[in-house]
Amino acid sequence: MPTETVLGCQLLSFCWQGDWTLAPLSFELRAGERLGVIGPNGAGKSTLLKLLAGLCQPSSGSVLLQGKPLTQYSRTEKARQLALLSQENEQAQAMTVAELMLLGLLPHKKLWQANSQADLNLLKQCLVQVGLSHKQHQLLSSLSGGELQRAQLGRVLMQGATLILLDEPTNHLDIQYQHQLLQLIASLPLSLIASFHDLNLAASYCDRLLLLHQGKVMALGTPQQVLTAPLISTVFGRPCLVDENPFDGKPRLTFAPGDCV
């Protein structure tokens, strides 16, 4: 059922102190689809992700998760469907990889339930998927940035959610790890909404892009439709050249350096 809608929002908006942080917007996400949210700083990317995750209340409109309004889900029901991997570089680094990943079981467990053998098998399987089997007992503080992100992704996999929201997942990662992480996500049977600063990465790994500017939707469509030179130059305030990435045929953007304007 590739056309099934996982998440939809209708006229969703967020108003803060009289200003549109996010003007009303509507879109739908199909199962298995990867949607990239792009735009300059302060465009409303993080706000949109928070609204979709139900972490703050919209000023108007609603979010439909599997056809049911997000507000009608209980906390744990929601957590079984939808996972969030947030941007902060967090400090709980005294946990081990396995401990972090087992947190993903939280929405599936009663308070008094211990982790069963099946859970440990799932852990083993997820560790293999994110390529951290050999590091499961290591402290998070001893991991590289890329491994830390993969451990967090492992937690999301344990959570069993089919829709993941990622807030700038490639922050703090070097080029190798950026591609490794996104390739890993692309290989998993997940629907994804992620915000990006790197437009070329977004173009290569997303099926559709949503371009936000000052809280308004400037474009929504395939990378080819959204990443056009006039639009991107206007939104980011920087002359830009669009050609084709010779590796995957997706749009490739090159921005003019300062003194070449």
């Binding site: 969030l84 902060e88 946990m95 081990t96 993903g104 939280l106 929405p107």
Partner: protein, 329 residues
């Protein structure tokens, strides 16, 4: 300890608790033969003095010391976990200053009521926590760091009020209140246990039940929320629980500092920082630590008893200096 696996460390810790218990039971101005000690428990004891020494003096004191140490360490561990701040401490929320003020008021104005003293200390501590919460909520502060700042402010306010009251009243009252400020187990009996133990057990039970939620909150609020954890209500619940636990301990034992700050650090080094081991381990280590401190308080100076706070503060300062030098090195 590094060379032992985790289950072995737990076993060692339990054995250490048991050994410390027995050793401290027989430490004091009078030392019994081990056989005599054994007889006190089997009922074969023929000397009523010995029986009274063990059952009426040392055992209640030992139990109170263990429970108080466990409670303070658990409160500290919970607060450090919730605030993601390794320097959070039951002190910082104004609980001890509040208890001190309550005890001062009670001992100045109702000196005849014996029950009033712990009760007043308890009420004072709750008042301090209420003030911290009101301040934090009025300012719409979200993070626990802000609670800590409010706690420091309330702490100073209550300490100032205590100092003012003591300054204006008879100088002998200051001596009585010194007890609250420095900490002591000299008032030990079985009765406080009925008050503190339920608080401790409830706190520990809930901390163990909510271990996953607490771990998620250690990670970040957003992650915890996205995992379905009701972050704000849980934080408030545990804040109130630790306040009640600390208040009940301070009410009977006074302000024993540094246990809540130091022991969780030690436990993290030994057993890791996952909620379950941190909380159970803190209870054990805190209890062991405080009965040793009390044994020291009773025996270090031949003719008098030292306040517990003196020893715990000295240990605490030494511990953090060691920690600092280890970090550097």
């Amino acid at each position: 300890m590094k060379s032992f696996a985790l289950p072995q460390r737990w076993l060692l810790l339990f054995l250490l608790a048991l050994g410390s218990f027995l050793f401290c039971l027989n430490t004091g101005s009078v030392s019994l033969q081990w056989q005599e000690l054994w007889w006190c428990f089997t009922g074969e004891c023929t000397d009523p003095m010995q029986w009274q020494l063990i059952w009426q003096l040392r055992l209640p004191r030992l139990l109170l010391g263990f429970v108080a140490g466990a409670g303070l360490a658990l409160s500290g561990a919970l607060l450090q976990h919730l605030s993601r701040n390794p320097l959070a401490d039951p002190y910082l929320f104004g609980v001890i200053a509040g208890a001190g003020l309550g005890a001062t008021v009670a001992s100045l104005y109702f000196p005849a009521l014996l029950i009033a003293l712990p009760l007043a200390a308890f009420v004072g501590a709750l008042l301090a926590i209420a003030l911290v919460l009101v301040l934090a909520l009025l300012a719409r502060w979200q993070q626990l760091d802000h609670f800590i700042l409010a706690g420091v402010a309330v702490s100073f306010l209550f300490s100032a009020a205590t100092a003012l009251l003591l300054y204006q009243h008879d100088p002998f009252a200051a001596n009585r209140v010194m007890f609250w400020l420095m900490g002591s187990l000299s008032r030990a009996s079985y009765q406080p246990l009925w008050f503190i133990l339920p608080c401790l057990l409830l706190c520990l039970l809930l901390a163990v039940l909510f271990r996953r939620q607490l771990d998620a909150m250690l990670w970040s609020d957003q992650t915890a929320l996205s995992l379905g954890v009701p972050v704000q209500p849980l934080r408030l619940l545990f804040l109130l629980l630790t306040a009640a636990l600390t208040a009940s301990i301070v009410a009977y034992c006074g302000g024993i500092g540094f246990v809540g700050l130091m022991v969780p650090h030690l436990v993290r080094m030994l057993l890791g920082s996952q909620a379950l081991s941190l909380f159970v381990g803190s209870c054990l280590c805190g209890g062991i630590f405080l009965i040793w401190v009390d044994a020291g308080a009773r025996t270090l100076m031949p003719s008098q008893e030292l306040p517990l706070g003196v020893i715990t503060s000295a240990c605490g300062s030494l511990f953090f200096l060691l920690l600092l030098s280890r970090r550097r090195g």
